[in-house]
Amino acid sequence: MIRLTDQPFDPGALLTAFAEGRSETGAIATFTGIARAEAGATAILELEAYPGFTEAEIGRIADQARARFGLHDLAILHRIGRIGPGEPIVFVATAAGHRRAAFEACDFLMDYLKSRAPFWKKEHGPGGERWIEPTAQDHADRERWDKETTG
């Protein structure tokens, strides 16, 4: 499942659905990204996607993850539109035979979503609005996967 939504979602409900009926899967890893309040500065995030293209690009990254880590399944849900503090922005779940593959695939998918997936993020804060670009750390995180071989 790869999906964009402009509505708030409950990551737990997604995990419940994802975990159901998996008698051959030994390991499920998930990641939930949440809009931080940043120490009281009640910012609103605004996330823009390119409908169709964004899902297709995420799909290509997902296919890479499936092949590289031998995943049984994966799920990605990404919010778009206006997101309030404390609301989930992104949910990624990976299912694999063993935990190392599940963890690494989840980590890999998040690194790509952070720095290469077609989203644009604007922060509306008390001091006005600004577009947010990936940090140097985000780029460094993603580049780990170009070097590493899967263990």
Binding site: F53, H78, L113, R116, W120
Partner: protein, 79 residues
């Protein structure tokens, strides 16, 4: 007519999100946009800006057909 889409900060800079523009190639379209709005022209050539034609990333020039969708994609940031 090609449909031109701007995303993220490019849209704020240009003041529009989507327009139909008559142009035979991507290079011609870039020139046209730069003539009309110098700041936008520079930004479209800026670091990390990618171009998708009909939802596929492209590099360099290419002809544009009638109804082509051209999207200018500034550096991406999800999650």
């Amino acid at each position: 007519m090609a449909r031109v889409l701007l995303f993220g900060p490019l849209r704020d800079l240009a003041g529009w999100r989507e327009r139909d523009i008559e142009s035979g190639s991507l290079a011609a379209l870039r020139s046209l946009l730069a003539e009309e709005d110098e700041a936008l022209g520079l930004a479209l050539d800026g670091p990390g800006v990618q171009v998708a034609v009909d939802q596929a990333l492209v590099r360099g020039d290419m002809p544009l057909g009638d109804g082509s969708e051209v999207a200018f994609l500034p550096p991406m940031s999800g999650g």
